[in-house]
Point group: C2
């Protein structure tokens, strides 16, 4: 193994420490930052993640309200709840956990999240504002990628970055944020011809597909920086990423681990956005 | 010269013919499609373009209301006018012509254009909806690029496309539309290192910078397809693009002319969007 591991734990801890200070300051003047987490699924890993958010929030002095709509919630139920939380002055941040019930689409219902409280950038308005250069919260996973690279002093200006995956949740917003950092960005996807050739010509590879082991040593240039956004639960209760870690670590210059890379930074940013929303 | 010229005139004429039929059908049932063009500038080429839109609209049976706010209009004046046109039931499409008065930013004021009438995709909400896969009008210049390539049977699936320029008005939306067409898209800009090397490895190059002659023969692979989005007025009253046409035409496989390429398609799409908005 030659690659440096780009851990997200230290950055996440630093963000949490900063939040704890600001949350205490706000609470001292009567504003207790509060995040509402709405979910409507029986999915085990979603429930696990919601509990993790609540536990982390409590540690840093952010209130967390968990709203379980049940796996049979309709689109109307979800919209109604998001709208009423948007009007609730005690709530500063709102997220809607996936997966959603059958037939309910994130982009439709997320329009009901007031963009000032849209701390995971799920409302299409937030995405449009972000791309147009207006204040808005970025999707936290996308922002975590850029923050983690910055934390580890990975220069982006003028560098070639390949983003694998073109979702509106990660691929496209991360491409936008990397462009803002002056990287030359190529977005690849399932229809890309000769993916390995395209990604091997990049100095930084961001894998955001959700397909275990998709990115192998053949996909990366020697010495490249590889960011693994995938979080795929394994049968044994663990978690793996999009990157075949052992092979890639032997060739790349640096690699974010899964778990312990992008994930903890994402969770910390959710709470940081909530505190920022409460400060306004 | 070896390159085929990819004219936009025939496609624009076909779109206009289609609009004329639909506009007549709508008028027959009492709905006359109507576009409002707001401008607030003494710029000569803007005035010329506004007159062109009005003349084209008249020919195809679309009503066109020109609102001149004068070059000293404030942000509040512009917003107020866009909001009142958004509420006006006789108006189906609204565009705000650039340049804007000093201190007025498109992304701020365009939030006042109802997205259902935002026929040039200027409101950040339209951009966010587009990227999220919800119904919205794309910025017409970006859409014209993809429509023109389709008209000339240029396959995009799996092909490498380099977009030069990262504006929220053209570069980023065209990158999104090309991704939707399954191209592998690289966005380049002023900070890209060795631009010529990046663009020469693409099968299709889209130049959207607004810098006369930026793209030379050195920037394109032999046989590549080159789309020129630039429209830069010359001192002699003519217009040139981002592409150094003579040199590039000797090496590329195909090239869109300026004028007569993307431009006429853009204008036709503005009116097509207006008719679509009126049909709802």
């Amino acid at each position: 193994m030659t690659a440096t591991l780009l851990s997200g734990k230290e950055l996440a801890a630093a963000i949490r420490a900063e939040i704890a200070v600001k949350a205490a300051e706000l609470s001292a003047v009567g504003v207790r930052p509060r995040l509402a987490v709405v979910y409507a699924t029986a999915d085990e890993s979603a429930a696990w993640y919601v509990r993790l958010i609540a536990k982390t929030a409590e540690k840093v002095g952010v209130g967390c309200e968990i709203v379980d709509l049940g796996p049979d919630a309709s689109e109307r139920d979800v919209r109604y709840k998001l709208s009423s939380l948007s009007l609730d002055q005690r709530v500063h941040g709102i997220i809607l956990q996936t997966p959603l019930p059958h037939g309910v689409r994130m982009q439709d219902v997320a329009l009901a999240i007031a963009f000032e409280k849209d701390v995971d950038g799920a409302n299409p308005l937030s995405l449009g504002r972000l791309v147009s250069g207006l204040p808005a919260f970025a999707p936290t996973t996308a922002e975590a990628v850029v923050r983690l690279l910055d934390h580890h002093h990975v220069e982006l200006t003028g560098r070639r970055v390949a983003v694998v995956g073109r979702s509106a949740v990660v691929g496209k917003p991360v491409a936008h944020l990397l462009l803002n950092q002056n990287a030359t960005v190529t977005v690849c996807h399932s229809r890309t011809k000769d993916l390995a050739e395209v990604t091997s010509s990049a100095e930084v590879v961001v894998a955001a597909v959700g397909k275990a082991g998709l990115i192998t040593a053949d996909h990366v240039a020697p010495g490249a920086v590889v960011v693994d956004v995938g979080t795929i639960p394994t049968e044994s209760g663990g978690m793996v990423g999009d990157v075949e870690a052992e092979g890639v670590a032997a060739k790349a210059g640096a690699l974010t681990p899964v778990p312990g890379g992008v994930g903890p930074v994402t969770t910390a940013l959710l709470l940081q956005h909530t505190v920022q929303a409460a400060s306004r």
